[in-house]
Amino acid sequence: MFWNDIKSGMRQLLGQPWSSAFAIGALAVSIGAITALFAAANALLIEPVGGIRDPQRMIETGRGKDGRLDTISAPLLKVFNAPSTNIEGMYGWTMLPVNMTAAGEPTRAFGFLVSENYFELLGVKAQLGRVLSPTLDGQRGASPHAVITHAAWRKHFGGDPDVVGRVVTLNGQTFTVVGVAERSFRSHVSLLTPDVYVPLSMQRQVQSSNGDLLDVVGAYWLLTGARLKPGASLAQAEAEMRARMTAFERAHPDERVEGQTMGAAPLGGLPADIARGFTVFSGAMLVLVALVLLIACVNVASMMLARGEARAAELSVRSALGAGRWRLTRMLFNESLLLAAIATAFGVLIARVLLGAVDLGALPTPFPVEVSFHLGWRPMLMSVGAAFAAALVFGMWPAWRSVHARLSEASRGVIASRSRTREFLVVAQVALTLVLLVASALFLRALDRAHAIELGFRVDGVYTADMDLEPTGYDDLRQQQVAVDIEAAIRAVPGIEQASYARVVPISGSEMVMGELGDAQLPEALRHPASNVVSDAYFDTLGIAVQGERFGDAHRRDGEAVAIVNATLAESLFAGASPIGRSIKYDNAANGTLRIIGVAADSRYRHVGEGKTPFLYLPARQLNAAQYTLFVRSTLPQLEVARIIRDAIARVDANLPRPAVHALADTVALSLLPHRIASGVAGVLGMLGLLLAAIGTYGLIGHYVASRTREIGVRLSMGATPRRVERDVLARGLRLGGIGLGVGLACAVALAMAISGMVFGLVVGDAIAFAAAALVLAVAVVAASWIPARRAARISPMSALRHE
């Protein structure tokens, strides 16, 4: 019986190939988009990170307030690893960019510095050799052991089966490879695939510029996670951690930060702070895609209703042959299921193509980002679920109506009701499309505003390259000289306008706090201002205006500690008075104070959307650092600049790895990635919705004209002019469009309020966005109504009256 329904359904689809193809296409695109989006959200948020044993007992932990899970110190980590009733243990980790020499030239690699219990707590085994362990790798400074990932084993060691015992150099230190992690495990963070894991006991050796941090109570640098004991809850673990932290702070009152406590969250593919934002963002995108699916369903429902009417005679015959109402309804619904199944098959293909087009590796991130989006059982279930829901919307209800209407054909109420139903569908389409278009317009305008933001520094023609002097083994003075020499070598090349270096790249999302400013009375933001360590030419390279003096030869390494503050910090500290020449307490300065020599113009430091931020610039010539980013300004093409940078580095020190060179514009663009994704997705969906709404309106008005040909002939014979007929038909379409726009406007306002905080620059009351969206849709509705209206006006009353 089901098979008969399917055969009947196939004949129906093949009998009207164009409209069937359109219906399948519209549904397939929507289902494909939903599936792809859900696959991405699944990979990043839902699916347990691969290779972790019993992932449901893993939690992410951290210090912070308002739900933030931030870094802790190594001594505090030790406290949490004392015997506990709720957790088996806590691991700590931090990202470790390394210069790695495995064979041949040094290469830039990416590692994790992890506590020795990291693999044990995550339940990760070794494919070859062993993983890190507290007993074998805990001896401070004397455990030069590294575990490499399966991917790194392939990439850097050619899959050598004898890799265990191989010696590698990491940041100038010799390590022995003790194991290869099992293939299914990359890291506990979905996006990150480190090459190498190094034990915390070797922290000072691989981060010599940071000094020994393992006993520093006030150095918050470790991200953490823990494994719950069987039966223990997150809340219990949290309470225990908070109690321990309180006791720790009592023992170390100087390091206590007001308002901060320990928190925990289930371990997901992304860190909790990022996961929250991503969840909201992907949720909003899913809503938009679901709207398109709904519009497509409404379109198809209208088509199914029309087909049902056309099959009235067939349904009557089937009924006369003994088919009951439910049997007929089921037959029509099964045909809809067939349509949905075919659309799903194409939708899955579309999802594959969309997911295959995503290449996160191409993004200019400070660390390599890699994630595989695949269509696992959850996305496929979502696909099937979406298809079934769609079939229910566009199939079951029209099926029930078609069967029900057949049995009460003579009733004028049913005839009018069918007409109202299709009108309702058009109104719904127009309303939903307006919501989509408004969302698209709002995101586009937000992107526009973000682009228009004055960053306060030059972007065009500026290139960046990471410079890591850690592996050279040089002392601080030599490292500083190497940095200066590289900068000078680059600047000397014809075509290079300026070169400099700094610790932090603006708008990269990174923030660095170097010390405490002033005294305890200062507000937190001023007491711990964001900072950057910059070479003399930094301000000139980025076009940042400085009042007063810039860093230069006069500010010697062993001389008076100086700083340049930005205008916001100057205003906050000195309330309008010039700060130039004034001194302020700074605990990271040689003699505990800084003399302010200049005021830099405000710019954006961490995010495009940030407000006025107090900022402190410190001179690279007075501070030790091994890791910098080069900034090079030139009108030469990027490839040429990259060659110049690499050649300059090689000339100064052949042992340094050749860095990747990125345009600063790409880094800024990366910060606007949420805007670009949102506006891109919403824009495409908006156009798709517009097309569907226009086709839906055209279809409805066209159907109205076709089904009322006789009536139009009568009206013409009664004295109506063709222009009057055209006007009446057009008015019908415009009336429906107008109602749809009104309803859509209300829904769009609600949507705008819901997404208002999602991206910077999105303004709920953006009248231009609303007006533009409404205008575009109105034009589409008018055009879609006008074509059948013109056709109606050309109807010959004579032939119309013969039309039954």
Binding site: A410, S411, R412, I415, A416, S419, R710, E711, G713, V714, R715, L716, S717, M718, G719, A720, T721, R724, S796, P797, M798, L801, E804
Partner: protein
Amino acid sequence: MIQLRNLERSYPVSGGRSWVLRNIKLDIPEGDFVSITGPSGSGKTSLLNVLGMMDHDWSGEFAFDGQKVQGMSAKQRQAFARDKVGFIFQHYHLIDDLTVAENLDLPLQYRDVPAKERAARVGDVLDRFQIVGKKDLYPAQLSGGQQQLVAVARAVIARPRLLLADEPTGALHSSQGQMIMDLLKQLNGEGMTIVQVTHNEDYAKKAKRVVSMFDGWLTEA
């Protein structure tokens, strides 16, 4: 009132033309009641469509109240027909979504009659045709005879000079058909010029004269 001379209508077919009206000569004085009979395909309805100025693709001479219709543009003919002609169809062709009163109101709307006057004339016609009680009903709620009654009322409400009826009793059973024919006679008695097309010989004889059509040719009976 109406003179037709050398009226011809044909359609192109493969190999030539198909003639539906051949050299028609017909005079219809004011107040006349003419029945046009003939077998199916003889051209009766085609002649009616020409008289009603719904068909513009003919040749010959057609004068209506002294005005030469053949010289008018399509738009002029439409306006002329709107003022002069009322139509009754075999299948009533009432608008399903409109009530009886609204169906009657429709021709007056298309003639830009002011609302108050429309309401008055609709009331008059409802009263005259004794269908006041049905004014809020929809066509689907009426019998065939009642629907045709409403159709006749709709055709005359705009006070046309000529009433054309295409098989007005074709879809009705005998008692209903008789009622409609009696109504047409009554209207003719009041001075309405009526031309009907009918297959029914008895109903044809209700008219003042009968003309026959065969293969596009017209002959007076």
